[in-house]
Amino acid sequence: MSPAERLLDFDQAMALFDPVLGLEVHVELNTRSKMFCGCSTAFGAEPNSQTCPVCLGLPGSLPVLNRRAVESAVRIGLALNCSIAQWCRFARKNYFYPDMPKDFQTSQYDEPICQGGQVTVEVSGQPYLIEIERAHMEEDAGKLVHVGVTGRIQGADHSLLDYNRAGVPLIEIVTKPVTGTGAQAPQVARAYVAYLRDLLRGLGVSDVRMEQGSLRCDANVSLMPKGASQLGTRTETKNVNSLRSIERALRYEIRRQAAVLVDGGRVKQETRHWHEDVGLTSPGRSKEQAEDYRYFPEPDLAPIAPSPEWVERLRRDLPEAPDQRVARLRLEWGFSEAEMRDVTGGGALDRVAQTVAAGATPTAARKWWTTELARWANQAGVELDDVPMTPDQVAEVQALIDRGVINDKLARRVFEAVLAGQGAPDEVVRSLGLAVVSDGAALSQAVQRAIAAQPEAAQSIRQGKVQAVGALIGQVMKDLRGQADAATVRQLILDELT
């Protein structure tokens, strides 16, 4: 890795330049079989166990198009407000690389299946229009595992190849240059990818798991001096594997490019690699001598001609768009706009909805996902979806509170324990003895001990100064390590002293 490069302060950079974004998102479709053969697409199988003559590119083998993948592509296009081609073809993208079984990728070139869409995303209450250039179909490559100290291709002793992923259907969604986002550029990029993730999940066409690579974003950014109209030289940052990384990587690239430009240098057009652990990008393949992919129409596949009737049927059956869903749920849940932004901004919408579906009130569901669980996710550096606690379990904790088995304070300890993998909520309550003390004798003994320990407070209450009860409640709670219901304790004290 190259030594850290000079960075300009972000605000300073924003005072001098306008960033222009270009986002290329690769979506792995969740079809059961691959794009051009019958092999399974399941993730995590024994290397090369999900291969056949076609996806290994054996001599003589031929591709057969997965119709389901075309349907997913059309549905994605429709959801992005694209127009759907009435006739289009695949093209071969020719380049040599060991993870490409045929040494060409079957992709689409000048005849993509979806073109010219748009979506609107929101950052801090401000809407941003993102124009979609195209969405096209292609096949994924295999995976190279470099064996050696570095774990990267440089310095590897040898490399292993796993072709299980080769031929998995991909949709590549490419934006037009996104301008006018100013200092919000990194957040807009993040919000766009989050929007796509929600949209694709709603369509049910992909697992959209960034950490497994089923949603991948290549983030292009260039800088334009303020007031200029000519686009600057862009870099393309790869290996951006989470929403958080998108924001961080773009912030880094903007600061790096700004420093280069301020120093009178020239930004090199290149692919850069994001390193999440150290928070910087390093140069990869230089695109100065642009590779010539020698695209030409794929002669092994027939052209695709989606009938207008079929496309219309798919359009009719599209699920609600993410922004419409947010508006509907806000009304249903009775949240303020700020409250809803808390939920959507934190990527908690689905989790909250699932928790409500499991029986919790919207307010309770929102509370836990935007505080306790959001904090945990943030500390663990994972997405909310990957927090090891299910919406059902969250609803169960809330039910325990509602039934008076635990209180809010104990609930936080239940969350900690469940998140630490110590079991389901009810198990944790039992095994750690977290249930509130509801045994009358134990409670009145504790009340007696508190009165004895704080005679002055007790005296005040007897004299009618009921507000002094707080001190005694505190004493009881301390005694019982918080495992009591405060309202019950208050009533017991008042019963005793008045």
């Binding site: 003559p53 290994l56 590119g57 054996l58 001599p59 003589g60 083998s61 031929l62 591709p63 057969v64 198009l65 071969r92 020719n94 040599f96 060991p98 079984p101 045929k102 040494d103 060409f104 040898h158 490399s159 190849l161 010539d292 020698r294 695209y295 030409f296 002669p299 092994d300 596949l301 027939a302």
Partner: protein, 501 residues
Amino acid sequence: MNELILKGAAELSQLMADGQVSSQEITQACLDRIAQVESAVAAFLHVDAERALAQAQRIDRQRAAGQALGPLAGVPVALKDSFAYAGAPTTCGSLILRDWIPPYNATVTQRLLDAGLVILGKTNLDEFAMGSSTENSAFGPTHNPWDLERVPGGSGGGSAASLVAFETPLAIGSDTGGSIRQPAAVTGTIGVKPTYGGSSRYGLVAMASSLDQPGPCARGVLDAALLHRVIAGWDPKDSTSIDAPVPDVVQAAGQTDLTGLRIGVVKELGGEGYAAGVERRFTEAVGLLEAAGAQLSEVSCPHFPLALGAYYLIMPSEVSSNLARFDAVRYGWRVNDDGRHSVEQVMRRSRGAGFGDEAKRRIILGTYALSSGYYDAYYGSAQKVRTLIIEDFAAAFERVDVLISPATPTTAFKLGERAGDPLAMYKADLCTIPSNLAGNAAASFPVGLSPEDGMPVGLQVMAPPLADDRLYRVGAALELALRQQWSGPLWAELVRREESR
């Protein structure tokens, strides 16, 4: 000479049905013949005697048990070495695949086995089917049984030669620019290129995907039709195969009356550059067709002279991409794999050592033609020419039912004669290329020996897409007329020569 090796597939089939001979006897006769003549002809790259005899024995048992068998069950066939046959070497005549044994069967291979045919082995070809003489095979050329000093045509020279060396009654070829028809013409055999999409390409190692088409090779028209029927038809594994009924080629091969058939002689395929002996036999054949009842006329296909140029842009473009996968990473011959060379170095050196000159020439041509900045001028223009040729055919087929021309401008040339002159070699396919570009059906039928050199001359018949049956109708009429003229098939002359030696 064992009489069995001279018999055609239909006759052998009948003899087996009548219980007069077993598939094992026929297969053994072919294997014995192969052992006898291979050192001179070199038609085969690999002979699979063990599996051939096992299949023959299986068919004999099934027949003895009274099982219903297909019409070609038990009949031997030779397979061009570009078709995947699980468990047998499939080299494509290239060093880069010299050790490759496919784990799967091509659809054509599978259909042969399912129909009970006996696969004798794999036949020689120009490397990756690129050539018109088999001299581009990395494993040495095949010799033309009519004159061992001459080429058997190419790329399917091995399949064609094996027929007239009497090593097999049937063979399979593949035709990209004439690789079935040109060898058929110069060996005096029958070779048919079905309509593009009429037979499955799955498992045929691709040369140029939009042009390649598997087809039958035989010594007789009915035999070719019977084999055509076995291998043709829609295959879900090949997206370019046509989901339509196979034309009734067997029935057509039994028709010999051409009354009412309109035949167009292509004006552009003749004249300068065509050997006098070829033109003479062609003209005589035209007379025979007329005598059989056909209406002959001359038809102009004005863009055919552009076909060769367009072909040599489209074909290499596809070749450059199709041959990319031979990078020694997953299979194939690997060079410099000593742990000191990077994967790129191993790929480059393996390709450098594994491909022959013609393969490299076409990869370079195609890479250039597809390069950004040149694409429109080369690949793009060639595709426009292709459209014009399709239109020429369409216009011609409005006026006539089939088109005919000489199958090749000359008879078989001498080994080595054109090896150093690629352009001269390419011209051997001048007549056959238009049908590959347009995707229509075409075939070559023998029409005699040239008075100039005593070598066979072929006549090409071209039919509209999915009208493959018309080829056989014309072929059958020609075959009948010529048999009467020669008192037997053309290849009987070869037997006479061999017996008098």
